[in-house]
């Protein structure tokens, strides 16, 4: 292969967003198609799946392959891109009958609760009827084709990547509408008799012929960009233009005339395949819940996806031995962190204690919380000293009633956030080692004195972070079938039994709701004699909305200590992120200088206290009070403020994820040279440490969009949660009250966006 060919073939534009979209849509289609291919094997044969994948692939190739890289230099390549987006991808997608498989492939809640009302709405159906009408589709297709090839518009697309993407989106969208009546994907019914599609396709072909002929026969370059382009591969601008026209002509005519031939053949041999008849009513598509297989309103007991039922992962998660093995590995890593923290170089990006706990571990924690739940308590190495304490002292004392609340844990968390900021814990391997050691000692001592999981439940600040943030996670440890629990006589999930000990956190599974106080230890899974506990999916807002009775946790909507903890973590997320942005650091330095202070300890402490304590203490009750005035609510001010605090957890969680992932992705490579350094220090041979990985990698350009999308997700979940809470406490002016209660969420989003747009400290990396 020549160098030029190799260069061309390696010119891929791997933008993560289209790739993610393509993979996710194929996964959703496949999930829906799997069920349909069993119930309707004739209609949903393997080739439908193939058609969908091929359609997605055609569209992706158009925008990601070397076609995109060379489209700006050669018109014929650019035209090939358009052909894929208008003539190849859309018909393939429609041939896969995408509507029902895509809908069935979505989670049941999304299908029923989110999309169901739209699918059933007459207005939406009328709209759909209108836009899939052949006249509309044909007109739009022709207008889009001609309009975007007018030189001014075409050049706009060439010069601006934004308009280029808009252009491609319009081509794809209008082509889907154009091909809709031709393919008439099931379960839609045609608006016109089949024979009318012959003139329909012929009109499209004639316009395409005229359009292509202009490119082939005109003897001046139409577009200035290509006229000025270098003669790549010795192709001059006019030859390039004529070839572009020829491609459009040949491929276009073939794709328009092929269905004409097929339609004529079908019409002439009416017994070949039943010809769909025009709809008598006004709706050409019936995507009813019956078609979706959702006619039953009862949610099946086993309708939620269960992590424990998955191959490999499920048995691993439920196995006590495997958990212990992972915890020992984590303990080994913690020991390495402590040793390196004390003995290694005190420059944090060069030390295991400077990177593993602050960059890598926290990154993995938030990713696990975002995609599943509190998986990191499952791996927690502090369990080992806890168990040791229990074995040695066999404690029987209960945690003192006076401090049986989250106030102690919340105070420790505040101290931790403060120490982290003012003493730059992340920048001191020595201090980090002491913190880890102190943690082990505390876990040992507390559980040596008190029975149950006293340390996890009442002390551990990291655990509180996991408990609160996992309220916005998509999975929970929960019972699979309530009926089984009703007939259960042993209740081993809480009492313990032959399968193992019961829940140390006093969570009784039938009344357990959500992830609060759940360490994902899986003791209940092993203890339950009926195999009735799973790690199930749920709505990400369920936990923060439900304010009712939760067994050992009590009436959660009125627990001020828990609400305070949630608030501290939500506002703490922003305070913690503010501590690393340029303008705030400048402000703190300036403030310290104006007071004649040598360090910014006092200003940094003030910022933390104001943002995490004072601000929510003022804002939440005030907003709740106004909402109560606007809408007569069946709840007190204190309880409404608590409910609002829980509803804000998702936006706080999103800020934590954004912050942690920023450090994770900008400092990920640091682990390589630091590990090399440790091996060398121990006398091993690991080659020269690749310090380049710790200082000079480019920040990925998808990071900012990802951060903004995560903040979006947090806002949306919080707003939805606030609306749902509002609905449970008032029937009057619900929308107005929800808007008022959403003000803090919107304000936090704005603050989050401001933070990510500021210059940020590159922690965990070495200055170049």
């Amino acid at each position: 292969m020549s160098d030029v060919t190799r260069a061309i073939l390696s010119s891929w534009t791997i933008d993560p967003w289209p790739l993610v979209l393509a993979v996710v849509s194929i996964a959703i289609y496949w999930r829906g198609w799997r069920g349909l291919s069993r119930t309707q094997p004739k209609r949903f044969g393997r080739w439908r799946l193939t058609a969908f994948i091929a359609g997605v692939f055609a569209c992706w190739v158009a925008i990601a392959s070397p076609l995109d890289a060379f489209g700006g230099l050669l018109l014929q390549v650019h035209m090939t891109q358009h052909v894929l987006l208008m003539m190849i991808g859309p018909p393939l997608l429609l041939l896969s009958y995408p509507g029902i498989p895509l809908l069935r492939g979505l989670p049941r809640t999304a299908r029923r609760e989110w999309l169901g009302p739209f699918l059933a709405a007459p207005t939406v159906r009328r709209w759909f009827h209108f836009i899939t009408h052949p006249i509309f589709g044909l007109s739009l297709f022709i207008v889009a084709t001609w309009l975007w090839h007018v030189p001014v518009m075409y050049e706009l697309g060439l010069r601006s990547s934004f308009w280029h993407e808009v252009e491609h989106g319009i081509f794809l969208g209008t082509a889907l509408l154009f091909w809709w009546p031709v393919i008439q994907p099931w379960p839609s019914t045609p608006t016109w008799p089949r024979w009318m599609l012959i003139p329909y396709l012929l009109v499209a072909d004639v316009q395409n012929t005229v359009f292509s002929a202009i490119f082939v026969f005109i003897n001046t370059p139409i577009y200035g960009t290509y006229a000025a382009s270098p003669a790549l591969f010795s192709i001059d601008a006019l030859d390039d233009q004529a070839t572009a026209g020829a491609i459009m002509w040949v491929v276009g005519s073939s794709t328009f005339l092929l269905p004409v031939g097929l339609i004529i053949r079908r019409l002439l041999t009416p017994n070949l395949v039943p010809v769909p008849t025009p709809a008598s009513g006004k709706t050409p598509v019936d995507i009813s819940l019956t078609v979706l297989g959702d006619s039953s309103s009862r949610r099946p007991a086993h309708g939620r996806s269960d992590l424990l039922r998955m191959p490999i992962l499920g048995p691993a998660l439920g196995s006590l031995r495997f958990r212990r093995a992972v915890q020992w590995v984590m303990l080994g890593i913690a020991a390495a962190i402590v040793l390196d923290g004390f003995l290694g170089p005190q420059m944090s990006p060069m030390n295991l204690a400077g990177i593993l706990p602050w960059t890598h571990w926290r990154g993995f924690v938030v990713i696990a919380l975002l995609v599943a739940g509190n998986a990191f308590c499952w791996t927690c190495p502090f369990m080992i000293p806890r168990e040791l304490g229990k074995r040695l002292f066999n404690p029987t004392r209960r945690w003192p009633r006076a401090i049986r609340s989250k106030w102690l844990a919340a105070s420790l968390l505040l101290v931790y956030l403060w120490a982290y900021e003012v003493f730059s814990l992340w920048d001191s391997p020595w201090w980090t080692a002491w913190v880890v050691l102190g943690y082990f000692a505390a876990a040992f001592l507390v559980d040596a004195f008190f029975r149950g999981a006293a340390f996890c439940r009442w002390v551990c600040p990291i655990g509180q972070f996991h408990f609160i943030e996992s309220m916005a996670s998509p999975r929970e440890v929960a019972i699979r079938d309530a009926d089984v629990c009703k007939s259960c006589t042993t209740h081993d999930c809480i009492r313990g039994g032959p399968g193992g000990r019961g829940c140390e956190l006093d969570l009784y599974l039938p009344s357990k709701q959500g992830n609060l106080d759940c360490t994902w230890c899986m003791d209940c899974v092993r203890a339950c004699p009926h195999d009735n506990v799973g790690v199930l999916t749920r709505n990400m807002t369920d936990d923060v909305v439900f304010g009712g009775w939760r067994g050992a946790l009590g009436q959660i909507g009125s627990r001020v200590d828990l609400a305070a903890l949630a608030t501290l973590l939500t506002f703490g997320a922003f305070a913690n992120a503010l501590g690393m942005v340029g303008p705030v650091l400048d402000f703190e330095d300036g403030f310290a200088a104006s007071l004649g202070l040598a360090s910014s300890l006092i200003p940094a402490s003030l910022v933390l206290i104001v943002v995490t304590c004072l601000l929510p203490l003022i804002v939440l009750p005030v907003v709740a009070w106004i909402a109560m005035r606007v809408s007569a609510m069946d709840i007190g001010l204190r309880n409404l403020s608590c409910r609002l605090a829980f509803a804000l957890v998702p936006i706080g969680f999103s800020m934590w994820v954004v912050h942690m992932l920023f450090h994770f992705f900008t400092s990920l490579g640091t682990i390589v040279p630091v590990t090399q350094r440790v091996v060398i220090d121990l006398g091993g041979n690991a080659g020269d440490p690749a310090w380049i990985l710790a200082c000079c990698l480019n920040v990925p350009d998808w990071l900012l969009p990802l951060e903004l999308l995560l903040l979006d997700l947090g806002l949306v979940l919080s707003v939805v949660a606030i609306h749902q809470v509002t609905r449970t406490v008032t029937q009057r002016r619900t929308a107005a009250a929800a808007v008022i209660l959403s003000i803090p969420a919107v304000a936090l989003l704005i603050l989050g966006v401001w933070i990510v747009l500021q210059p940020m400290q590159m922690r965990g990396t070495i200055l170049p």
């Binding site: 010069r159 949306v716 966006v753 400290q761 200055l767």
Partner: protein
């Protein structure tokens, strides 16, 4: 408070290479074409890509060394960066992605070396002021607005469906 390297994530907003053709001229023994993105160039991240072809055969030259030296007319500030094929999406080009630190007039010297041949091609551009951040990031905030609007519509539809069901006369 210990200060570390500060980075501005906004400056990493992606641009593709190629873009607007700035110049295409013969600099013996090559035909050199320079492209820039975004259009117009603004203070912040820019992409400059260079296509080097043999002037006689049009064949792309793939093993040259390309250096860009920029000078800001107003302040005298200079920026030097290497353009490489590894940085380019289109692997026939040599691309450099870097931050233009100030708006205003910039002169660029494109130094090309290949074997015994060397050329310097001078050109210039005017960098406009950066766009306000919101003008750059709004497409990434739009999903939140749309999702909340869709949720509101969903709730309305549910409400009206609930009301319609309640209004239906009980046939039993």
């Amino acid at each position: 408070m210990k200060r570390l390297l500060l980075i501005l994530l906004l400056a990493t907003a992606a641009h593709a290479d190629s873009g607007l053709i700035r110049l295409s001229e013969t600099a013996s023994p090559w035909q050199v074409t320079v492209m820039t993105d975004p259009t117009p160039i603004r203070e912040g991240l820019v992409d400059i890509s260079v296509l080097i072809q043999d002037a006689k055969s049009d064949a792309a030259v793939l093993d040259a060394a390309v250096m860009l030296k920029l000078k800001h007319a107003q302040s005298g500030l200079t920026v030097s960066t290497e353009a490489t094929r590894q940085q380019a999406v289109n692997r026939l080009l040599y691309a450099a992605k870097f931050i233009v630190p100030a708006a205003g007039e910039w002169t660029v010297e494109t130094h090309i070396e290949h074997g015994d041949d060397a050329q310097v091609i001078a050109w210039s551009f005017t960098a406009a002021n950066p766009l306000p951040p919101l003008a750059v990031i709004w497409p990434w905030l739009l999903p939140a607005v749309l999702a909340i609007a869709v949720y509101a519509a969903n709730q309305r539809l549910r409400q009206s469906r609930g009301a319609a069901q309640r209004d239906q006369p009980n046939e039993h």
